[in-house]
Symmetry: C2
Subunit: 192 residues, 2 copies
């Protein structure tokens, strides 16, 4: 009879995610993962397979978390406020000493997507999800009057999605809150 | 008397750059660098210092090359055509089997910038350079009549710069030529 699993899978995946998010896939060592989760190599890989499988499961936890956060922020009325809040949330801690991890999907579009089809599909799916959610929010804003730009909602959403990695990278290279706010305001003017 | 250097420094740096560009910093091994350049460890590190120093020199060759290419493309008249050509050049080979390395500066904003101040400054400098070059081109286009949008040239340039990493990442996750063209057209409509 198999020994019952003595740890909380979701909790372990969140701890592994934090390391992969901060360091990326390649720079994360087995020792880092063991230290973060408090588990031995045999517990970790026995439960999750190898490093890549553990990474994929941890990345998926990240994606579900962020999707839930995004839909929550975008649900605000009037819709324009929700969109602004969502973009502001991307660099909430830009002037603090906190690590600027940026968006894990953007990071993985760079690191793993070109050589791992599963990661590529996950990242492409994330971009589609953001585009769909923004399109719906823009349509709502055009109806509730908070968005004055009445051109095609999908096209407006495309500009916002295109700018998403750019804002993330600005946070990641720490350009400072003032420059981030200026760029955010210029981007949000697309809605007017 | 020191033995004269028996290789072309620029040529070696270009070969090292190609490996760092494709694989990133962490995933590039000394063996990769020796294979790409045909040099021994002692020749490589004797001439360039350690892996990081070699990387910084190779990255700088990349940045100078791209800056020259960008200024060349943007020098075309009327100015709007130059801007379109520059953005088209970002994903010229998106439908081929060629590796989608994306932009090395964007990649390094993700990989090294958060933990290496020199890389962070280089990437921030690249974003500034692109913004300045686009602002100048937009001003020219507003004068020569090819750009109908007469709002602040720096603000229009900011949107184009914000979208630059997004287009690079789309190429890197290989969304396909049709999606790239649709996004490019939506972005270039900012000039109208």
């Amino acid at each position: 009879m198999a020994r019952p699993q003595e740890f909380d899978t979701q909790q372990v995946l969140r701890k592994a995610m934090a390391v992969f998010w901060e360091k990326g896939y390649e720079a994360t060592s087995l020792a880092d993962l063991m230290a973060a989760t408090g588990l031995s190599k045999s517990s970790l890989y026995g439960s999750f397979g190898d490093k890549r499988e553990l990474f994929l499961a941890a990345f998926d936890v990240y994606r579900q978390d962020r999707k839930r956060d995004m839909l929550h922020l975008l649900s605000v009325d009037p819709a324009r406020n929700g969109i602004v809040s969502f973009y502001e949330s991307l660099f909430a801690d830009v002037d603090t000493e906190a690590a600027h991890n940026g968006c894990m999907s953007v990071n993985q579009a760079v690191e793993m997507a070109p050589r791992d089809l599963r990661v590529k599909d996950m990242v492409a799916d994330d971009f589609r999800t953001i585009h769909e959610a923004l399109t719906a929010a823009i349509k709502r804003g055009q109806q509730d009057g908070s968005i004055k730009n009445l051109s095609d909602a999908e096209d407006i959403a495309s500009i916002l999605v295109l700018a998403f990695p750019g804002l993330q990278l600005m946070a990641r290279i720490n350009v400072g809150g003032e420059a981030m706010n200026r760029n955010l305001n210029i981007l949000m003017a697309q809605l007017d």
